[in-house]
Structure formats: C-alpha cells, structure tokens
C-alpha cells in the first residue's frame, strides 16, 4: 500500500504537464496495489491492525476502504470503484485495472507527442463500440420449460444451472475451491428462494448470520430464520415442534413510567391504584394472546405456540406465557418481522384486536441454541420460504468476515444474472473478443489519429486478460497470443488459469455478470479521459481536497 501513500503530491499548484504525470502515476500506482488480487489465482491480502486484529480480503472494494488514500487522483478512482460496487456489487478490481491500463497505454502515446484530446476522442469511440459489442456477446439465460402449475403465483422459471455457474465463478475468486463449491448451491438456492412474482429481488430477505466456533467450520442454508437472541425465561421450552408463529408489535410490558415517580401523586394510595390499573392493562393483552393459543393449540392437533415480538415483554408477562408452554422472544429486529411473514406466512399483528388464526404463521420446529454467552433461536421447517438464512460457522472473526463478504458477492452475482436475463462468458473471453472487434471492425470506421486512442483502448482491455494470466503464473505475452489465435479461429476463448491454455468458458461454466462489465465500460474510460484532460481534473481534485 505504500505505493499509494507516497503519491501524495500537492495538486493545487502543479502545472499541466506535471499534473498529467501525477495522474498517470497515481492510476498506475493504484493499479499496482490491486493487480495481484485479480482473478481466481490472485493473492489474498491480510491486513493486520496495530492491535493484531486481522482483516482478510481479496475484494477490491474492501481493500480500497481499508487503505487510507489521500492522493486526489487515487481518491477519484477509488470513488469510481465504490460506485461500481454500489451499482453492481462486483468488478471493483477490474475497474481500477482498466483505468490504470488506459492511463498506462495513453502514456506511451503521449510520450510520442500525441495530444491527450486525440486519445480521449479515440477512447470515446472505442467505449461506445465496446458497449455495443457487449450486447452481442451477452448470452441469454436458457429458459426452461414453464412449470405445469405456472399460474402467476410463482416467479417465472429460470435456469438454475447457469446461475450456479455464475455463483461458482464469483465465489471462486474469493474463496478456496472446496469452500466455494460448497457455497455454490447455498447461494444459488437462497436467491431463488426469496424471488417473488412481479417484485424485484430483495437480498435483505437472505440473512447472513454467523457463529464463532473453535472447532466447527461449516456453512449451511437454513430454510427459515435464525434470531440472535433467545427467550428470557428459564421455564420456557427450549424446543417446540409443529408451531404456530405469532409475530407482533405489541408492548407486553408495564411501561407507563410516570406511575413510578413520586413527584406527581398526591397520595400513595392514588399511585397504587394507577400501578394496578396499568398492570391490569398489560396483563389483559397477554391473556388475549394466551386465549388464542388455548383455542387453536389443542391436544388433537398437537400444535404449539411461539411468540416473536418486536416490542418488549416484561418478566411477569414472560412468566404467564411460560406457564402456557409458549416460547416468547422480545425485541426482534424490525427486518425480521418482515422476514417471518415471508418465511412462515401470517402477518405482523399490531394490536390484540387483530389476533386471529389467520395472522399466524407456521414452522415445523423452533429451538434455542446456546453458544458461549450467546443465544440463538432457529425457526425452521417452513412451508414456502421467501426468506432464508445463510449460517456461517467459523473458527475466527476474520475468516467469518471473509466468507461473509464472499457470500454477499455471490448473492449479488446470482441476482444480477436473473435481473440481466443473461451472462457474459468470463476468464478474459470478453476482453480478448472485444479487443479483437475494436481492431478489426471498429478501426475501419475511423480515420487518422483517432485510431491511436482506439488502439490504446484495445490494448488496455487485453491488460485485464494479461493480469489474469500473470496472476496464475503464466507468461502474459505468450498466453495472450494463444488466446488471440484461438479467437481468430472463431471460438469464444477464455484462459484456463491452471494450464495457461485457451479454453471455452461456456463449457467450463465461467460466467461474469453483464451489468458488471457494462458499468465498468461506461465509467472507466470516462474517468480516464478526465484524468488525461488535466485542467478539468485539477478542478475536481481541489474540490475533493476540501472535504
């Protein structure tokens, strides 16, 4: 990271040439820091804090956040990467590399006397052409035959196999293969589970939970919820089966604090009465719930009753509920109320008047799990879950954090795949093909020096494939030539990172997201252009420094 820190020049007073030089260096410097991360064979970065805490990351975005970047040019690039992550959830390393490569290629031409404006114009032409080419390169998701019972209540069928490949490709760039493969189905199925007809996919409905466990590392998909708290009464059952689930937002605690204050009452007697009245009010609500429970949980149906409340439940109320064999949880997360509804059915009840069997959800089992000082409650075995939980167990916080980041990326990749309705063959296939297209097709439509910018752009795209090759320990030049040759034979070719030979990413199932490539192609050349037209950049740079 030192290469970034040392690029700490004072931008305000630089002349144009020096500023241009600084921009190029900053972009290349940032690229150098990130380059070794790129791809499934990149290096992982272990950041050790002053206190010895560890952060593991292979993610460009996380790394950028951890670095204290001060150089204004580097800050601008980092912002583009952050935007890339916000919009697509992936491709942050790629975008930093592409900007760095564009600047590096530009430097060559600039040193030969080319004016930046000429290059920038070439970039712009190439950008548009590449984006158009991207559309032709996109492979639509195969549409499986619609399920027989497709009546609009279920979301349209999608090709699970392609999505699995998308998930696996993403996970393998962040985690060792066995672990990535284990997570592939979990990630794919979670996204498919939370899909609902005619609604955007809400990834918040996939909760990622973790448990730190010295010996156990394992990740599993819970078809239901895991809450990070347990019941607060010693006599409540630790496990119930065949459960009605009542989710509600009703205060079951005695909370009228003013009753307690000594100031505002003329007599102790008056106060006592108010205390009793308030208590009765709370008890009444608890009894309404117990009444419902008694009515619907009969010996014959063998049903049991679980109460999950967003508000508080005080000890007296807990006591009453415990006597009835109810598991009651208080202060559940707001988002979990929504998730219970989607996982178990029923709806969140806001007042005792709404209490009815229709409001209740169902789960096969609800049980408590204790781990050290922490308690968890599992709500599992639900009929038609539109919300689920990915539970990560790992030996240490930093490993858990790394897996979590990877899972988030994987979820995002699958969602993008569905939203895009298609995928892009990966492993450098797109970059090689696009560069070829620019040189053989687009170039013909240009006259004069604008071709220079286009050449630089094509070379920069190849830079990504070269980084992939280098990080897997292969000679970049040689590998690229092999890929180009194979491509000229009319095949879609990517790099087999193990052998260094060309391979077909479609047969192997290495897919990237369309939207990731598109966002990268839209923003990277524009920013590179700004950095080259340095007057504008300086103004932007000063702006940034002010904050």
């Amino acid at each position: 990271m030192s290469s970034v820190k040392t690029l700490n020049a004072n931008a305000e007073v630089m002349n144009r040439a020096a500023a241009l030089f600084m921009n190029i260096n900053a972009a290349k410097g940032l690229m150098d820091v990130m380059r070794s991360n790129y791809g499934p064979k990149g290096t992982i970065k272990m950041l050790v804090s002053g206190a010895g805490d560890i952060k593991l990351t292979k993610d460009g975005n996380v790394l950028l956040r951890e670095m204290q970047i001060q150089n204004p040019t580097a800050v601008m690039i980092a912002r583009a990467a952050v935007a890339q992550d916000d919009i697509t959830g992936d491709g942050t390393t790629s975008i930093v590399l592409l900007i760095g490569e564009l600047m590096k290629q530009a430097e060559r031409f600039l040193s030969e006397g080319t004016h930046p404006r000429v290059l920038v114009e070439g970039f712009e032409t190439a950008r548009k052409a590449t984006l158009e080419f991207l559309e032709t390169f996109k492979q639509p998701l195969p549409t499986p035959p619609a399920a027989a019972d497709a009546d609009g209540t279920a979301p349209p069928a999608v090709d699970r196999e392609t999505l699995r490949c998308v998930a696996r490709t993403s996970l393998r760039t962040k985690l060792a293969e066995p672990l990535a493969d284990q997570l592939t189905d979990i990630v794919t199925d979670s996204v498919l589970m939370v899909r609902r007809p005619n609604q955007p996919i809400d990834l918040f409905m996939v909760e990622i939970m973790h448990m730190r466990h010295k010996l156990d590392s394992d990740t599993r998909l819970v078809r239901g919820l895991v809450l990070d708290h347990g019941s607060r009464h010693p006599d409540m059952p630790k496990r119930l089966e065949n459960c009605y689930i009542l989710s509600c937002n009703i205060s079951l605690e005695y909370e009228k604090s003013e009753v307690n204050s000594g100031f505002f009452y003329s007599s102790a007697d008056q106060r006592e009465k108010l205390v009793a009245a308030e208590r009765a009010y709370t008890d009444e609500r608890v009894h309404k719930i117990i009444e419902l429970k008694k009515k619907i949980c009969t010996e014959e149906n063998g049903k049991s009753f679980v109460l999950i409340n967003q508000k508080g439940i005080d000890p007296i109320s807990l006591d009453a509920l415990a006597k009835e064999g109810v598991i009651a949880l208080r202060r559940a997360k707001k988002r979990n109320m929504e998730r219970i509804q989607l996982a178990c059915g029923g709806f969140c009840v806001n007042s005792v008047e709404e209490l009815a069997e229709e409001a209740l959800g169902h789960a096969d089992e609800v049980y408590e799990h204790v781990l050290g000082e922490e308690k968890y409650t599992f709500v599992e075995g639900v009929k038609n879950p539109h919300s689920c939980t990915i539970l990560i167990k790992g030996p240490s916080d930093h490993v858990i954090a790394q897996i979590k980041d990877a899972v988030r990326d994987g979820l995002r990749a699958v969602k993008n795949g569905i939203d895009d309705g298609g995928v892009i063959p990966g492993a450098g296939a797109f970059e090689v093909a696009a560069a070829h297209h620019l040189r053989t097709v687009t170039r013909k439509s240009l006259a004069g020096r604008a071709k220079l910018g286009l050449d630089a752009f094509a070379e920069a795209l190849l830079g990504l494939a070269k980084a992939l090759a280098e990080n897997s320990g292969h000679d970049a030049q040689e590998t690229i030539i092999k890929l180009q040759e194979e491509h000229e034979r009319g095949n879609v070719v990517g790099l087999d990172v193990v052998t260094g030979e060309p391979m077909d990413p479609v047969t192997v199932g290495v897919y990237d997201n369309y939207i990731v490539k598109r966002q990268m192609l839209q923003s990277a050349p524009v920013l590179a252009g700004q950095l080259l037209l340095v007057d504008e950049v300086m103004r932007a740079g000063i702006n940034m420094r002010k904050q």
């Binding site: 990271m1 070794s36 990149g42 290096t43 992982i44 970065k45 272990m46 950041l47 050790v48 804090s49 002053g50 206190a51 010895g52 805490d53 560890i54 593991l56 292979k58 975005n61 956040r65 204290q68 912002r79 952050v82 935007a83 992550d85 916000d86 985690l175 060792a176 293969e177 672990l179 730190r212 990070d228 708290h229 607060r232 605690e253 005695y254 909370e255 604090s257 003013e258 307690n260 204050s261 000594g262 100031f263 505002f264 508080g312 005080d314 000890p315 208080r330 202060r331 997360k333 707001k334 000082e373 030996p395 240490s396 916080d397 930093h398 490993v399 790394q402 897996i403 002010k546 904050q547």
Partner: protein
Amino acid sequence: MPKEIVTLSFGSYASFVSAHYWNLQDEAAGYSGREGWSEYADCVDYDTLFSSSEGRNGAMTYRPRAAWFDLAGSSGGASHRAEAAAAAAAAAAAGGGVAAVPTWTGGVDVHRAAPVARSAFAATLEQHEALDWDTLDEAEAARQQAVLEEAARLLDPAAAAAAARRRTGGAGTSSAAAAGARHWTDFCKVLVSPRMVVSLPGSWSGPSEHSLAAGWGAAAGGLLGGGGGGGLQMVEEGVDVVRLLAEACDSLAGFQILVDDQTGFGGYAAAVLSEVVEDFPGRPRVLFSLRQPGAWAGAADVAGPGLPVSTAQMTARARDELSEALALCRMSELASLYIPLAAPAVQLSSALPYMSSYNPALPFHTSALLAAAVDSAMLPTRLTGRRTPLGESVGVSDLHSLIQLLRPAAAGLAALHLCLPCPSLPADLQQLQRQLDTRIRPPHDSTAVTAAAAAAVAAEAAMHPRGGGNRGTAAAASQPRLVRGESVYGSTAQLTGLEQLASLTPGISGRDDTALRGGGASRAESYCLRGARTDAGPASTASALEALDSLLRRRAHRMCVRHRCATPMPLALPLPFPDLFSPVVSLHGDIMLSCDDGGGGRGSGTKVTDAAAGGAGNGLPGSVSTRAAAGAASASAASAALTAVPVGPGGRAAGQGVASVGVLTRLQATSEFMGWVRGVQARWTRGAGAAAGRAVLDAWDVGRDDATEVSDRLHELVGKFAADDDGNHY
C-alpha cells in the same frame, strides 16, 4: 417497574468519558463486597447499568449495558476480538511464508500496521485476571498490587511525564510511557463485550484528532450512505447494537447518551438515534453533548481585532459555528434532555479550587471530571431504598421523573454544575453533637479507622486489584489515629453557598447574581448530594438534606421546581482516576484547612505510619467484573511494616490517591439558556451567510431547505423561552 438504563457513547472523546464513567461504576459495585462498605454501596442498584448472566460453571459475569461507537484505531492495542491471540499467531505464520489462511489456496500478502502497545495498566489487569489470588502469599499479593498501582499512575500523562523526568534526571521525556493513556482501552477496567464496540471506518490519532473531527457533517459522505461504501450499513449496525442491549432489559427505563456532537459523530449518532426514538417510544433519552474545554459559547474570535484571518481559519470557525447549531437543533429534537458539557478550560480556576493537578489540556483529566459529574448527576435514577447507618437515600427518583421535572422548564435544555470534592456541610454544633453521639462507624470516617479495619481493607484490596478501594490500601493505614471527639469545628473547608458549584455547561453560570442582572433564572433543578461530610466525618442523609435546604433557602430568586437527593454513598475513585486533587484533600475527601490541626498531618512533615503490606486470607470479591471469583472473607491480621511516609496536609501520603469524595451536582433548567440559544443563533446566521460557511454546508450535504429548517428551529427554541417569560410559568 422500568429500571434498566442503556448507555451509548458516540465519539472518541465520548469513549474517554465513558471509560472513566464505567470505571466509576465498577469501583462502586466493587465496594459492595467490602467489609464495612457493603450497605453503603448497596444504596446503588447496579442492575440498572450492568447486565448479569450466569456462565456454565455458575459464575456470574457482569457487563455494562453500554455500547461504544468510535473509529477504527481508537481502541489502540486492545483487541475486542475474542480470538486475538490466535489471530496474531496466524498472521505471524503467514508472514513466515506458511499459508495460514484456511479459506484461500493462493498467495497471501501480509500488510502489517505498526503494532500499538497496550498500556501497562491494561496488560497488568489482564495478567491479574489470570492469577489465582488464593495461592499467592502476602508478599506476592502486595507486590502485584504495587505493580498495578504503579501502572495506573503512569496512565496520567502528567504523572507519567513527571515520573519519566525523575527517571532520566530531567533529561528527555520522550519515552512512550511518558505519554500516559492514549486510548480509552488503556484505562478502562470493566470488561466490555466485543459486540458492543462498534468501530467505524476512518482514521484516528487522538480523542480530538481524527477523520470525523472536522465538524457535524464530517460523516456525511462515508458513514451515512451519501457517498456509498456501506455507510447505511453502519447506521443499521448501530441500531442493531442498541436493540440487543434493550433486549437484555426486563424493563428499559431509557437511555443516557454521550456524544461528541460537534464532530462527525454527531451526524452519525443522529442517524442512529432517530431510529432508536422510533423503536422505543416513551423511553427518555438524556443526551450529554461533549465539547472540548475552551469551546465555550461565544468564545473570542479566531484572530485578535485587526489581525488578518486565513481561509483555513475562516473555514475552521465556520465549521465550529455551524456544527454547534446543527447539533443543537438535531439533537435537542432527538433527546428528551440536552445537556451541553465541557470541562473548565482553566487550571486552578475558582471553579475547581481543590484540584491543583487538573490540566485542561489533557483529555484524560477533563474526561474524568465529566464522568464523575455525569455519574453523580444521574445517581438519583439508580438508587435503592437500602437503609444504612447514615440513613437511607432520600429523593430517589427515576429517569422518566427526572426528565419530566427538567424538560418543560427550558425547552429540554439543561446545565450541569459540580462541586468536587464537595466541601463540608455547614452543621450547627447541635447537629455535630448528634452525629458524634451516635455509634456509627462508617468506613469512610477518617477519624474512626481502627488498625484491624485498615488491615482488612488493605488485605482485601490487595486480593482484588480490579475492585474497589485499591486507593485505600496503604492509605487506610496511614490515617492518623484520632478519637472521634477530637475533630474540631471549622477544620475543613465549608460549603458556604451554592455559587461554589462550578459550571460544566459552557455559558450557563447558574449563579444567582446573573438572575438579578436579568440574565436568567433557574426554573427547575435537581440536586444530588452524595457522601456528604461535615467536620465530624460522614453526615447522615437527613442532616445532609437539612444543610442543603438551608443553603437553598438563601437563594434569592423566583419560584423554581426542585428535586433534592441525598445518598450516603460517596464517589469511589478507581485506580485509573487521575489524581487531580490538591494535597489538602484527605483520603476520604475532606478539605483540610490548616496544616497543624488535629485532622491531618503536618504540611511537609513525616509521619510514622503503619503501611499494610497486604494481608492473608481471602478477600471479598472485588468488582463487578471479578465478583465471580468470590471466596469467603477471612481477613486475618495484616503484617504491618513501619515505614516513613511523607504526609500532606490532607493526611495522604505522597503519591497516594484520594479514595472517595463527597460530590454535589446540580442539573438546572434555566432561562439563562435563552441568551445561550440566541448566541448559537447569531453565530449560525453569521456562519451560514458567509461564503466559507456555505461551502462547508455544501460539503456536509446540508441543503438550503435543511438550513432554513435549522434557522426555524433555533427561532422556535428562543420563542419557547420568550413565551414562558410572558406566561410566567413558574
């Protein structure tokens, strides 16, 4: 009955205040296991602030119902991760070329930040935690205790620098130890659950030098989601931490919140609190707005008249002015009570006459003072009805009532005033006589220490270094042996009037004479008098209240709603509390007037005293965090060594701290705030109108509409006072 209070601290200075605050709680809780002290200590309900849970082996663990929100790096060398040791080993292995990352098969690139050392105090505490005190012999126990005491002394930057000077013979004092405590974790002695320390992204180099230091809006881009990058996630995490704390409460009474709200932490805290307000309707929130000493409202202009002002200075001033207004408007909406706090900016001011070592430039000192004030002012909300030989606490209240009392009086604004140590109460001879007659022997009665008690205290303290009363170790024994009756009327400084209360709220003096000049008048007040003393030692709560009332009767102004609370438990000072006190302050907080009266030793003389060198047997559990290690108390006679110790007029040996003090605090809602808000308004108008100010607001994402809202809100606040004045509410 609502009782639990959740404490949230947002900010790096807030972390300092909070760490001191929890040390005070831990210390007091530790006293409940000490011989002679338990009934006094039990006047306080520790469950209000601490949650307890039973571990697998039946041992109880106590954790503060508190969360810290601070920047990454602010915890220094302390790791809040449970498996830090293992992690460090993994890092070392990876550095050595061995693939130590189970989740990755490729290369590992290790980037290591320069290691940050933990304080000797924190390190010693941890070692002591692992020690089996039952098996140590007396000498070893005493030695261990001495090590901890020495480490604690080095936490105070002033003391550490002095010690370093002594060591090096006055030469360079650049050693790391001379810096004293740099991080809140260097001196925090309560065990904090890792989940409750939320570290926000940013860079940190000191409690007031960090990436959020540049005003209210400094978090606008990164933390609040404006610039992307997981900002909203941090807010969500904050809300979730609060929810977890609340889930552990059977009946949540409300929140007390410490915020550096003139910094970017203010903006972040506001985002979290607005959710909290929604999730916990009806739960009051007392908010202490922390400022640096010297950040007094209406502080002088940056440059003197006629001097040129640089752009940077203009911007800095604009930031301060705008932050003040933004924080006031936003926070006073979210809080039930908004209490601006700053420690006095001048040393040895009339405000703190008995704190000669107080250094306003040291956050370690100023935050300790604020923590003591907050602790005492809020004490009425967590008292029990426990009877003691000095009577039971009077004026026991709760959070809701306290706020109901103060809130309507001054638009939810309140000031905090402090007397620390609180001088002796004026007591008439008859009252003194009554006190002397009783057979009460409170443990903090300096004239009543018996050799056995002293030894027991010393022994017990040595056994439980984390717990209460370490300061009393050698101290108790060094007290001059006096017969109770020997105390002389007038030998200690007296509390002669309430103007002796120092203001900790910038710009609100709280003095009567201001009222006479038409500056303002108190409308509602809450007094807390704890561990009150007279010349004859600890006073009963009844006589304390009587004395306070007689002082109150002398206040000449219009009607005012008043709450008074008196409780026998003094403020017990933990080891890491800096020794701010003048030598005239005695072990238990008496302020000795003359050097050669019966109450103390001779000014610079040397007294031969018993210095207890640790005792045998098991002590009682020391503190909240170590209560679990309880053993039976069977203090046997201590082996006493005769040592020559120089004694100050307060009767303390050199280098020996004060163990406990009486404190008087006042929370005051006063119309003085009208002028105060007007000041904020004027500075806002000036700041927001200037070019530098506009640029600052732009950078903070405060648009024109928001700015108008702030102006309106300030106007509304001022209006509330004016309306009250007309209506003559009180």
